[in-house]
Every structure is written in C-alpha cells, then in structure tokens.
Symmetry: D2
Subunit: 226 residues, 4 copies
C-alpha cells in the first residue's frame, strides 16, 4: 500500500483503550474517516493484533517496532518478514519508548527497502534526526520525549526543534520525509506541523484516550481538507 | 482455556515456515491432531499473528514473550493484557533467545496469575530452573541452549539435567510443573521426557521445519496415546 | 580477603561525591573506622576507580557490577577476572539500577566461586530473593526499590519483606546470607536489620551524601559494637 | 591531554593478557614507544583499571565505554564524569561489542564536549559512520565487525568501506576525524589506512595478543615516522 502525504499516523502504544477488539474498532474508525476525507490515516496497533487488524482494514497498518534479526531461531522477536506476512505496510522504528541502536536501524531500513516495507524512524533531537536520515528511511519522526503524552504540541512549543530537524534532513538526505509528534491533539497542531515543513504527524494519546474517537480524528484532519 | 497434561507446546519462533498464512495453517494442523487424539497441543505463533490465530483455532495459543510493563505509554511492548485481549491462553517467558530478568519474571508471573494467563518460564540449568520455580509460574521448561535446534534430544542426551531440574523444583515449589525442550523431534524423545518426571515438551524446529507437519506432530504424540 | 559478619557495605553508586580522588578519600575513612572498631566495612567504588582504590586500602572492595562474559573480545565489559585482577574481594550483582538475567547471575555466581570472589546478589521481593538464593551466591541483599534513596529504612518500614526473605532463603538455600538495604541511614536502622535475621546492610546515599562521612559511618556501626 | 594525529589507539578489550598488572605493563610499553617516536599512542584499558593506569602513564587513556547517565543513583554505570575524575582523556563509544543507541551517543557526545573529554564513536557501515558523524564526536572509527580479530586488515580487505565512510563524513560533518579498525596488525595496514584518508587506527588483538608488545607496537608506528 502506497503512502500519500500528508499522513496522520496513530500509534496505539500499549494502551488498554486500543487493545484487542477495541483496537480493531479504532482502526475501523480511522479507516472510515480516511475514506470519507481522502486523507491518509495510518494505524500502528499493538503487535499482537497486527495480522488481525491488517486483514480487516484498507488503510496502511504499521508495526510499532521491529527487531534487527532475520527469520529463524529467534523466539519472541518481531521480524520485518513477519510484519510483511501479517499484511502490514511498514513499521515504526526507534520510538522513544523502544529505542534501538543505529546499526540496527541501518540493518532494518536496508532490508525494509528490499522487501517493500515503509519505515518511520523516531528521533528526539535535530542531531539524532540528521543521524537517522543518513540511514535513508522513508520518514523520520521528530518527537521530543519530554512532550510525549502532555498535550503540549511540539509544533507549537518547540518549533525550532522541528525546523532544525527539517533543515538538517534536507542537507543530509533530502529524500527523507519528516513527520513530527509529541503532544499533537488538535487540527491546529497538525496545521502548525505542516507549516514547519513536515509531511504529517505521529500521535497517540490525543486520539486513543479521546472519549470520542471519530470526533478526535476528524478534528485532526480538518486543516488538511481543502 | 484450561491446560490438560501431557502437553506438547510448539514454538513457531521467527521461522519463515510458520509466519503469516503458513502460521495459521500450522496451527490448524495442530488443532486437527489435538482433536483427533485428545492430546493437548498448544502453539506459540509469531507475536504479529497472535490475535488472528487465536481467533481461528480452539487449542491453547501462547505468546512467545511478554514485556514487564503495565498497559499504557509503552510503544512496541507486548503486555500480558494485550496477550489476553488477543485471545491467547498464556505466554512463554525467558526463552533462551529472549531472556528477561528475574524481577521481570516475578512481575509477569504474579500478574498473569491475577488476570488468568498461563505462564511457561524457560530455563537453562537445574539451578536456574529452581530459581524460576521459586517465582511460582505454572510451568518451567528446562532447555539447555546448546541442544536447541540440534535434533539431539535433551531427554536422552542430558537426562541428568532434566532429572536434576525435576528434583530441585519438587523441593523449591512442588506446584510448578516441568516441561523439557531442546532437540525434541520424535515420539521417543517425548516418551523419554515423560519418564524423567516432566509433564510434556516444548519444541520448535522438529515440527516447524518438517516437510510434513501432520506426520511430524502425529509421530510426537504417538507415545502419549494409550 | 575474608568477610567477617556483621557487614556494612557502602555502595558509592555513580555519585559525584565519591568519584575519583573523593572516592579514594571515602574508602580511606571507611578503612580507618573499620580498623578502629573491628567491624567489617566494605566499599563498592565506581568501577573506574576499582584497581586504584583496591591497591590503597585494606578493607574488602567490591565491584558494583559484573558482566556475564569470559575474558576476551568484549570491549566495555567488566569480567570477574578483571575484578579479581584489580584486587577486589567480590562483586555486587543485579542491583535494582543494573539488573541482569537469572542465567547471567547463575553463570557469574558459579564462576566467582571458582576464582575466589564473593558475590552479593540484590533482589526486590521475597520471591526474587528466594530465586536468587537458589543460585547459591554468598549473600543476597533485599532492597525494595521504592525505598532506595528515601531515608525510610526497609528494616523499619517493611520488616515483613526482610523477614519473608530471610524465611524463604532458609528454606531454599540456608548457606546463603541475607543483607538488607534501601533507606538505611542510622545505627538504629542497622540494629533493626540484624534483629530481622540479616547479617548486615547495604547502603549508599545515607553515607555518600552525608556532610561528615566519619560521623555518618560511626553512627551506623555503633549498635554493632559491644 | 590533547590528541595529536596520526593516532594509534590500542583497545585492551577484556583480554586477560592486558588485565590488572599486565594492563599497566602494556600501557607502560605504549608510553615508552610514544615518547621515543613522538607518535601518539593511546590506550583503552579495562574499565576497572582506568584510574590506576591513568595515574601512572603520560599518554592519552580512554575508557572503552560510557553509560548515558548523569552522576547519581546509577549503580554499576560508567559516567563521563567518573571517566574524567579517573584522569582519562576520553572515551570510546558504541564499539561493536558494546553498542549503544543513537540518542545515547548524542547525549554523551554533547556532554563530553562540555566537560572536556574526547569521543571516538565506532561504526560498522559507511551509512552508520555518516549517522554518527552527524552527532559531532571528535572521531568516528569504522570497523566492519566481520573483520575484527581476524588479522585481515580493513584498510586492505575493504578499502571501499573506509573510503565510503571518509567521503560521507566529509559531506555530513567535515570536522569529524575518521579512524579505521578491524584486522589491523602491521605497519603496512596502518599506512594503507592513512592513504585512504583516515587519521589513524584503532586496534586490539594485533597488539594485546602479540608475544612481544614492544615489537608489535614499533612495527605499527614505523610507517608513521619520517
């Protein structure tokens, strides 16, 4: 499944609000709004639900993490091949809650490209964003960890971090697209993110913990509609 | 789903032979033989396939691993709650390819008991088996790592390791059941394991890599039939 | 160097107050009081200072951690052999701030016994204490992490955790001695610890951050003097 | 202590041949040759020996590793501050046997610069070299892991990896100097490394396991003498 930008990527994390049946339900809401509005809304459900959800929705589904191993004798590891076999479109890598090493990102990004999976590598500072861009993923997602889950949007609270990241990525590897995340909750936050040169947002609690998922997602994509 | 002993637990690891659709297929074969013979055959598919496979078969399904965190802001982690929501019966913990720390096993075993998941903690020596038994899981599975994947069955090559484990577990925590694994391929290996005081076997490549899954599993369960 | 009980083990952690020259100074103060009082006071300095301090004091010196590898091609790892070559008496293992896996504790305890190093394995719950005792270290040190650094002594705030640990260790492996730690600051805390069946205490901030090290340590050992 | 280039950095790893007294002895040999020839020879002893060796030689001494934490309650961690207090000149980071994450390299490089420690970040591919250069350490050291310890010098066996790294670093961050390592044993290997645009070499077994340390090091520095 090809990704069209702008992109709104909803990370379900390990939230109980979006686990099992509720995870499928949230993915269905995202799919409906994506179809209604034409905006690409992707979901990253709990890994345990990956194949099930990927088989039930027609929006891009991402793994939240992948391990840097080839298929084989690796109990409890999540291979890119398993993610592909599960029907997913791509994978997040190096989220602040699940960091991996640069050589592992390198291994995973190269293999994902080969087997046709999209990669989104999370970062925390402009320098780390530049470093990860040097590895050539499809996207990097700058997320200052101190803002994650706060509702204080990076695009408004720390525009210089986003701008600095966009700038450095242009220099190091202009093919890499930039998302931003942390604290994103409203359509305004998304609009601010796009103005800073990103192609979309990565968010989690702002949607997952919302009382009304449909309302929360609609609010987010509003500024993306013409 | 309650576990009836003896138990044959098939670990799909990260083998490409048992990923995605092929994983479901293998689970279906296991289910068929379990129904035909009355022997409990459980499967531990790739984590990405967990909910999908658990929703399609009526044999116990295990996760290959769980992370020692509560539901919440833990991207890329596998919680016990997500395993439960996926419809699984239990989880393996501390496999030699995915070891965790003793305090994490303690956390996970206590919580699994509370939420109704069955735990199988893997170990490598009689002393570590005793240590893990002290934490009170449902089962421990002694697997000398040097025999894993070799086809040389622990139950025949190192009976003293299995016997020593069974002995120590009886002393430390007699409620804990003992499985053994590593190199198990034939019904003879299973029979030898049961004679040593275990309640079953944990195996992987012996089935997953077999050309004919049905034949391989039937061969394994033969000595368990009266 | 043989350990005589009771034992007061002072962990310098990564505190700047006890790093480099100041680390040596604190070790010297501990040595002086140990000689004056006859009470065994051991120190666990920063690993970078290990050989230097061990060459300058005549009290037991412990490493704060060891890695479960043999000497060889393991850049940045701390082997038991290097700890021994540095002149240390033993090593702490599995501190709550540097947990390792049970199979690693097993490997390290067995090898330490062989090469003549004393092991102190830290734990957090009675169950984990029992588990670690099953591996046969010289000592276990029960330290509820939530009390570490608080000044609220485990021996008074959670006597049941210490008692429960002492009880279980007696059952699982009566040769293993029990220390307790977390929040220990005064001689009263130490006295309470001994009454619960421990052979001594493990402490850190209560001494390291004290304005007057000599006073702080003297205060601790007072109840141990006849 | 300022680093003058070219630089020969000898990593003692966890080799028993260079632990404790023998580590000090090897450092003394390196110091002697450095004084005799004027070539900068730096040593990275076992971390347990760091302060002792740094207090006894007048050549640059490096830690083999540092942990990404501030001084404080971090038992068993190696802080940059402790490395500095031990009298060392700098630290290696991210060796293939002790990889850390990119955000940790970022944290450590920034802090090392502030407190006056020199950083050498190891890498495995040209892409990872570029990524690490984006973080601004003093040096990167490209070492294809498959050649480490083989005696097959990267500078001759994989010149394209070294050249590719030098090229990318120039583009991403021309202030960063490039070392190369893996398989370096003779003066010829060092000469080849310098021709490829590096400022020196990182090596280990080629010296540490040599029967005659003096001979081995002299052989290495020969092509650097006019």
């Amino acid at each position: 499944m090809e990704i069209k930008y702008p992109l709104v990527l909803i990370n379900f994390k390990a939230y109980s609000q979006a686990s099992g049946k509720k995870g499928l339900e949230l993915a269905k809401v995202a799919e409906k709004i994506s179809k209604d509005t034409g905006i690409t809304i992707a979901v990253a459900p709990q890994v345990t639900d990956l194949a099930l959800i990927a088989s039930r929705v027609e929006i891009p589904v991402f793994s939240q993490h992948a391990d840097a191993v080839d298929p084989g004798s690796h109990t409890g590891h999540i291979t890119l091949e398993a993610i592909k076999d599960a029907g997913a479109t791509g994978t997040m890598l190096n989220h602040s809650e699940r960091r991996i090493r640069a050589d592992q990102v390198d291994f995973l990004v190269k293999k994902a490209r080969k087997i046709g999976l999209v990669t989104v590598v999370c970062t925390n500072t402009p320098e780390v964003t530049a470093a990860m861009a040097a590895l050539g993923p499809n996207m990097v997602a700058i997320e200052p960890p101190e803002l994650i889950g706060t509702g204080i949007p990076v695009s408004k609270a720390k525009p210089e971090v986003v701008l600095g990241s966009v700038e450095l990525v242009k220099k190091v590897n202009p093919d890499v697209k930039v998302l931003c995340g942390a604290g994103i909750t409203t359509g305004d936050d998304v609009a601010a993110a796009l103005k800073l040169g990103t192609v979309g947002v990565l968010l989690a609690s702002g949607v997952v913990k919302a009382k009304n998922w449909e309302e929360a997602i609609l609010n987010l994509v509003k500024p993306l509609l013409k």
